[in-house]
């Protein structure tokens, strides 16, 4: 019945060097729909599409047992800019 949030977190941390990570279960605790924000230097120099494909590939098994998956993939520099904009 979906995937546990801690298993998803482990999978992400195993796949990418993580500066910042946010995972939200958008299926009200059912573990079926997730929305993630991944901030990693692994995304440097890659187009948005390339980053998303990278994440889709790395988390293929996890995504296969979800109903919906939503992602944002930022470099550390981009994340700092977005944080500053919010303040």
């Amino acid at each position: 019945m979906g995937i546990l949030i801690k298993d998803l977190e482990t999978a992400i941390r195993d796949a990418f060097p993580i500066i910042h990570l946010e995972i939200e279960d958008t299926s009200s605790g059912c573990g079926e729909n997730y929305s993630v924000l991944i901030v990693s230097p692994a995304f440097e120099g890659k187009t948005t599409l390339a980053r998303h494909r990278l994440v889709n590939e790395a988390l293929k098994k996890e995504i296969a047992i979800m109903h919906a998956f939503s992602q944002r993939a930022l470099t550390p520099a981009q994340y700092e800019v977005q944080k500053a904009d919010k303040q």
Binding site: M1, T48, L49, A64, S70, Q71, R72, Q78, Q82
Partner: protein, 237 residues
């Protein structure tokens, strides 16, 4: 005793599937008012006995509308072959031949003799691609033409006036907020375009946005590109 499970609710459906996510399942969406369904139900009963290792579920589409909707089932009968939550094959209509072929292909047959070797892997190649090269070429040529129909092409579920899924609705709103002119194609209206594009663009879901004939991404990618300013640059506004 019947090997076909009659699904009573969404929870029942989920628990049957989740019991074994490596198992291949056949879902039969039917309705009592459609004659072909009554025939096909008997056929499916036979299939369930022939392939005891597959989970065979019978879903009355009107009664279990939320299950039907989650798989975009628009007409009956519709047959889905899943492995876990992954859709392997969709068969629209009472196509007994195609259904049998698909079961043969995806469900590992119970060996009558000891095999010298065996594999858990599915056959190599695209799951939904047409069998021969000429057909594949024709499909790809058609997809290319569709993708180049307008400078910005959106392949979505439903239409901009009536989106049929949350992600498609969101991308329509996004494009409207960005004041982008585009044409759209309803992938629910054409199964070969729907499955063909997933292979052609190497992207498993819809919506898909195409700019100047090139695949750009789905909702998330487009949203990020809007946030970063990349999108404005791409559509030249």
């Amino acid at each position: 005793m019947s090997a076909v499970h009659v699904v009573e609710s969404a929870e029942h459906f989920k628990s049957l599937l989740s019991a074994d996510l490596t198992r291949v399942s056949l879902i039969n969406f039917w309705a009592p008012w459609a004659n072909p369904c009554v025939q096909m139900n008997i056929f499916v009963e036979k299939l369930s006995k022939k392939y005891p290792q597959a989970l065979v579920l019978q879903v009355e589409a009107d009664e279990q509308a939320d299950i039907a909707e989650s798989f975009d089932v628009e007409a009956v009968p519709t047959f889905l072959i899943l492995q876990g939550h992954t859709l392997l094959q969709r068969i629209s209509g009472a196509d007994a031949k195609k259904l049998t072929e698909s079961m043969e292909r995806f469900v590992k047959p119970t060996p009558l003799v000891d095999p010298l070797s065996s594999t858990e892997k599915l056959p190599a190649g695209d799951l939904q691609a047409p069998a021969d090269e000429a057909e594949k070429e024709k499909l790809n040529a058609r997809l290319k033409v569709l993708m180049e129909q307008d400078m910005v092409m959106l392949f979505m579920k439903g239409t901009p006036d009536a989106p049929r899924c949350g992600f498609s609705r969101k991308i329509v709103n996004l494009l409207r907020d960005q004041d982008v002119k585009y044409s759209s194609f309803d992938i629910l209206s054409d199964e070969s375009v729907r499955s063909g594009l997933k292979v052609y663009n190497d992207w498993p879901t819809f919506p898909q946005l195409i700019v100047k004939g090139e695949f750009v991404g789905g909702l998330d990618v487009v949203q990020e590109m809007v946030d970063s300013g990349e999108f404005k640059q791409l559509v030249g506004r």
